[in-house]
């Protein structure tokens, strides 16, 4: 099992969700996050004074998938979230040791 964490532009969330649903993913966790990478910040003006806002709002999507689904999911996210400009975000893939359903105590891939 793998965990896929995707940091994407907030405006792309609905599209990514729709694409993932289409390929059979029926669960995910979404968080509003802030950060900066190569896009750096942007400028906001308050009462005629310019401020560099370094932490930009992003959306973090987390989902756990079976090993063989990773490529399909990653490609779907890339396709939906890409604009081609700096600031499109990143995807991190890592291994997951165990998944447990709280209601029943069941374990393993079937729980996902």
């Amino acid at each position: 099992m793998k965990k896929i964490e995707a940091i994407i532009k907030p405006m792309k969330l609905e599209k990514v969700k729709a694409v993932l649903k289409k390929i059979g993913i029926h669960g995910m966790t979404v968080t509003e996050v802030r950060g900066f990478g190569r896009q750096r910040g942007h400028i906001e003006v308050y009462r005629g004074k310019e401020y560099e806002i370094r932490f930009l709002p992003k959306i973090k999507i987390e989902l756990i998938v079976k090993d063989e689904e990773v490529e399909k999911v990653v490609n779907a996210i890339i396709e939906a979230a890409r604009t081609g400009e700096v600031g499109d975000g990143k995807i991190f893939v890592s291994s997951v040791e165990e998944v447990i359903r709280i209601r029943t105590g069941e374990k393993g891939e079937e729980v996902i």
């Binding site: 308050y46 009462r47 005629g48 004074k49 401020y51």
Partner: protein
């Protein structure tokens, strides 16, 4: 027989009661329309401080300093509410002593009873109407000091500044003191409220020095708009209420207030749009407040054309001052109390001497053949500026001796004043 006697007696008592009532009403000259309007106006001006100004300032502050900012307005309103009836009213509106201060004849509202009148309204309502003006003046200053001042220092400052700056200036201009004898025009508080507060804001900001993080990035612009909207709404009581009657003068003041405010909001945000290529909501709101301030002294003296020009000039100049001049000077008046209330007040008080139209309220300004009025306005402004600047500096000098440090420790400022001064947070994650 006995029943008849009782009935007759009752009838007699009832009649005599009505006759007595009728007589009292004949003797007094209470105007119920004026009284009703002043009751409403007082509540409207109260609404300007709480929650209007508190939310306007609170939304502009950093998230970690929101409650502290709100508390400054709230505590001041409560303090002034008590002090005003104890000695504030009598020193401001008691019988004049040498043109400088009122006497103590009405200490603790002594001698004021249900029959006391102020013009055509009960004196009690005049007392509270004026109280709400005193309270908001001091609350206005807080915007310049937020995000660094110790709360205990603020409480002491409120009391001292109310006593030694607000009360004398209110007496000079409205209470029969030397500026009113000179003929200075200030319909609803351009000098007494806004220049007074604006100068105190500037002097205090210079003494307190800059915050560690000098930004003003509003943590909640929605609250700012809500607060400013309540200020605009309450300002109808402030300006139209200052006619002290429900009459045509109040109606003109009401109309002028709305006109200048709308004009200044447009002027500020269009100037900003030209310079920075975006129309901002903070620009609209800040311009509206600049307009409200600048029309305050003029509301009951100028016609609507005057109101439009005053609003236009205030919107443009306050923006240019805040955006360009202030950053060159480098002082840290957190929420631009001087830039908006000081500059807006100066513009309004001066231009009242230009645009005062004798057909509105008898007084003529420069444009109506009375250049002397402009000169009188400048004297009134100058006296207020100098006096308030000196008194504010002395008050902070005394507070520095008493408290040692006027500001919270550097670490507390970084953590935020809500947590360190009050042990609370404005926004909690607790589901």
């Amino acid at each position: 027989m006995k029943n008849l006697k009782v009935s007759l007696l009752t009838l007699f008592l009832v009649f005599s009661f009505f006759i007595k009532q009728g007589l009292t009403q004949d003797v007094s000259s209470i105007n119920s329309g004026d009284t009703a309007w002043l009751l409403i106006s007082s509540a409207l001006v109260m609404l300007m401080t709480l929650p209007g100004l508190a939310l306007f300032y609170g939304g502009l502050s950093k998230r970690k300093d929101t409650l502290n900012t709100i508390a400054m307005s709230f505590v001041t309103y409560c303090l002034v509410s008590i002090l005003w009836i104890v000695y504030g009213y009598t020193l401001s509106f008691g019988a004049d002593v040498a043109g400088l201060i009122g006497n103590l004849s009405k200490f603790f509202l002594k001698g004021i009873n249900l029959n006391s009148l102020s013009g055509t309204v009960p004196e009690f309502i005049f007392v509270i109407f004026q109280l709400t003006f005193a309270a908001i003046t001091i609350a206005l200053i807080s915007g310049a000091y937020i995000e660094r001042l110790k709360f205990s220092v603020w409480i002491c400052f409120s009391i001292l500044w109310f006593t030694f700056s607000y009360i004398p200036v209110a007496h000079w201009v409205w209470g029969g003191g030397f500026l009113s004898k000179l003929g200075a025009l200030d319909f609803a508080g351009g000098t007494v409220v806004h220049i007074n507060a604006g100068i105190a804001a500037l002097v205090g900001a210079l003494i307190l020095k800059s915050r560690y993080d000098k930004a003003i990035i509003p943590h909640n612009l929605t609250l700012v708009v809500l607060g400013a909207g309540l200020l605009w709404f309450g300002w109808f009581g402030f300006n139209a209420g200052s006619a002290l009657a429900a009459n045509s003068l109040a109606s003109v003041a009401f109309l002028n207030t709305n006109t200048a405010t709308a004009m200044a909001a447009l002027a500020w945000c269009f100037t900003e749009w030209l310079m920075f290529k975006k129309l901002t909501i903070l620009g609209l709101v800040s311009g509206a407040v600049a307009g409200l301030v600048s029309i305050t002294p003029a509301a009951g003296f100028v016609n609507v054309k005057g109101a439009i020009i005053i609003g236009l000039i205030a919107g443009i100049l306050c923006f240019i001052y805040v955006a360009y001049v202030k950053s060159k000077l480098g002082y840290d008046d957190t929420l631009d109390v001087f830039g908006i209330h000081g500059i807006g007040g100066l513009i309004g008080a001066t231009l009242t001497g230009v645009f005062a139209d004798p057909s509105i309220n008898g007084a003529a300004g420069l444009l109506y053949g009375n250049p002397k009025q402009l000169w009188i306005q400048i004297i009134a402004v100058g006296v207020t500026v100098v006096y308030t600047a000196i008194v504010t500096a002395i008050i902070f000098g005394i507070l520095k001796i008493i408290f040692g440090n006027l500001r919270v420790p550097a670490e507390d400022e970084l953590v935020g004043l809500d947590e360190t001064q009050h042990g609370e947070k404005a926004y909690n994650l607790h589901i």
